[in-house]
């Protein structure tokens, strides 16, 4: 199973320029996460910080119980062997051909025979569709091929954490789709924890289990994909729809005057070219190629998300519940048209379609899962303060979902799940 990566209060700046600060998130083991963000918000810096190439000013990055920020160099090199990193341009060694590039980690870290190395390398090359190009030098191939070769090299040691820096940049939509499928298939096969940094909306909508966004030097949000995909946050809405109207400007931030001028233009009938349709909303997730094993991460995630469901914003709750099959709804004790069990149930009723079978309002307390549930719950969702934030009275509490208690018990800890921003 993949490794969990816990990031706590991470801040990074170059000189006086702060890149981002107080970033806290957890990459759940074996799940695919995507970090979105406009260009220049430090997504690549975040990735490089995660592998210890850049030292943050503050904060911790904990992997397997080791703090990457403060451990010895020797330990850092040990931990890095868990990582497979795909750099933006592939970062192949220019003096070696593709075969030697892909074989490099094997030759450095293992004592395998040359025949065995050859077998593994060719297998990975086939996986990324580069058979026949083994003898080419990185300078002689296209950017897309370099990227795929870089991925093959990152995979050759069977990493437990895969980090991809913009896997889609420089690739056409079709190749991007293949690459997304490849990453999901990989996740199904080796159950690695995957983090993809991108600004490709299609990838963000279809690939990940968890979705986060960096903007204005902070983590806007990070949590189950449904949360961001249904978010009302103006930044998220603008970014997902690729519009000019919104807080993101050509330079990173927009001033009031520009924003007002743009809105005035729009009101005067000027088309800014972006389609009117709102592509937010939950779309079906990419599944592994038929024949491959089921993604274990999906099942773990479902248990995890259901446990924190009542802490999520209503639209996300609705989306999640609607995406469950009938059996799952029964198992988790939730129904479309109803909230989660417990005292928060009334929060999401109202306009929703009622489930005919179960009566007007179905309130079922959380049941023990038929399957054993994994590890105690972590606070994965760390949402900032914003207007759609659930009111403390409406929604329950993580602790409560695990051990159902009388409703009053939860209110003492209310809003503990808020990551930061001086909540409560």
């Amino acid at each position: 199973m993949g490794v969990e990566v816990v990031v706590e209060d991470l801040s990074k700046s170059f000189g006086r320029q702060s890149i981002w600060k107080d970033v806290s998130l957890t990459l759940p083991p074996g799940e695919v996460s995507v970090m979105l963000g406009p260009s220049g918000t430090g997504k690549s810096v975040f990735l490089k910080t995660l592998v210890g190439l850049l030292k943050p000013e503050r904060g911790r990055i904990v992997i397997n119980g080791t703090d990457l920020v403060r451990c010895s160099e020797h330990k850092l090199y040990e931990i890095r062997k868990l990582f497979g990193v795909l750099f933006q341009d592939g970062a192949l060694f220019g003096s070696m051909n593709l075969f030697d590039n892909v074989a490099f980690p094997l030759r450095e870290h293992t004592r395998r025979s040359e025949a065995e190395i050859r077998r593994i390398v060719l297998e990975k090359m086939e996986m990324v569709g580069l058979v026949g190009a083994e003898r080419k030098l990185p300078g002689e191939i296209s950017g897309g091929m370099r990227k795929r070769a870089g991925l093959a090299r990152a995979l050759v040691l069977d990493p437990e954490i895969i980090l991809c820096d913009e896997p889609d940049s420089g690739l056409d939509p079709v190749r991007t789709a293949y690459l997304s499928q490849l990453l999901i298939d990989l996740n199904a096969q080796i159950d690695a924890t995957i983090l993809i940094v991108t600004h490709n909306i299609t990838v963000a909508r279809t690939v990940p289990d968890n979705l986060g966004m960096l903007f204005r030097r902070e983590l806007v949000m990070f949590g189950p994909r449904e949360v961001l995909l249904t978010s009302e946050e103006p930044v998220v809405e603008q970014f997902l729809n690729g519009r000019r109207i919104g807080p993101i400007g050509m330079s990173e931030e927009k001033d009031e005057a520009t924003m007002a001028a743009e809105i005035a233009h729009r009101d005067a009938g000027h088309s800014d070219g972006s389609p009117d349709e709102d592509i937010r909303g939950i779309v079906p997730q990419l599944e592994p190629t038929p024949g491959l094993p089921e993604r274990m991460g999906v099942r773990r995630r479902k248990d995890r998300v259901m446990r924190i469901l009542h802490t999520l914003p209503p639209q996300a709750q609705r989306g999640i519940i609607e995406s469950l099959t009938r059996d799952e709804q029964v198992r988790y004790g939730v129904f479309a048209g109803a909230g989660v069990g417990g005292q928060g149930a009334t929060a999401v009723t109202g306009t929703l379609v009622q489930e005919p079978v179960t009566g007007p309002i179905s309130v079922v307390p959380p049941q023990p899962s038929p399957r054993p549930r994994p590890v105690p719950q972590q606070e994965v969702v760390r949402l900032p303060d914003s207007e759609w934030q659930p009111q403390a009275g409406q929604l329950g509490e993580p602790e409560q979902a695990e051990q159902p208690e009388p409703p009053s018990a939860g209110s003492r800890h209310r809003r503990r799940w808020l990551g930061r921003g001086g909540g409560a």
């Binding site: 700046s13 000189g15 490089k48 592998v51 190439l53 030292k55 000013e57 090199y77 040990e78 890095r80 062997k81 990582f83 990193v85 750099f87 933006q88 341009d89 970062a91 192949l92 060694f93 220019g94 490099f104 980690p105 450095e108 870290h109 870089g150 090299r153 040691l157």
Partner: protein, 262 residues
Amino acid sequence: MSSPTSSFPGAGALRETGRLFALGLDVTRSTIKRPFQLREFIQQSWFIVSVTILPTALVSIPFGAVIALQLGSLTRQIGAQSFTGAASVLAIIQQASPIVTALLIAGAGGSAICADLGSRTIREEIDAMEVLGVSPIQRLVVPRVLAAMLISVLLNGMVSVVGVMGGYFFNVILQDGTPGAYLASFSALAQLPDLWISEIKALIFGFIAGIVAAYRGLNPSGGPKGVGDAVNQAVVITFLLLFFVNTVLSAIYLQVIPAKGS
């Protein structure tokens, strides 16, 4: 980590110097760490030889000649012709040869090392290597520094021989010196420690040239232009350091080893 931004004049220079020394220590420590990159070491040695051997030989002939001519006329003026050979051998072996070697190692070998590492850095190859769990210092820098040291010791020997032969040629053929006296006086003033200090100097100069080149190559300031600047700086910094270190080493040597016959 963020270093507290102290702003007294020269702080930046001190910081750079500190990092340079840190790299030197890292390299020294990684040298004894296994596995040793023999293949890379041999390749780099061969590469440095191939770019330096011809220019070194060509430079050392006129260098020996200049010293011989200068000393030849000087010794004739003060009537010490019999010591021409001895003096020119001393000058060539102790001073000229390590300096010529070092200049060429830094100028031809060091600049190539710096440009190579610099372009690898901006192409993120160094980052990729670190992420793959391979220390670029051990994998790339150590073999290069060791190769620079080895080649500078070997080249130093060659420069000494070629320089002395050049001196002989100019003194005997062009200045009508006496071949016998020239050769016989070799051992009048020169002694074995002179050769040792020459080789030790070459070794240290090779180390400095390698470290400075690697340091500037691993830390280019932004983009391809930065690599060009880094190469330029590496050569200039190495030259400055070499002449300074040469002065110190010569002073120590002259204090510690008594001159022959005294």
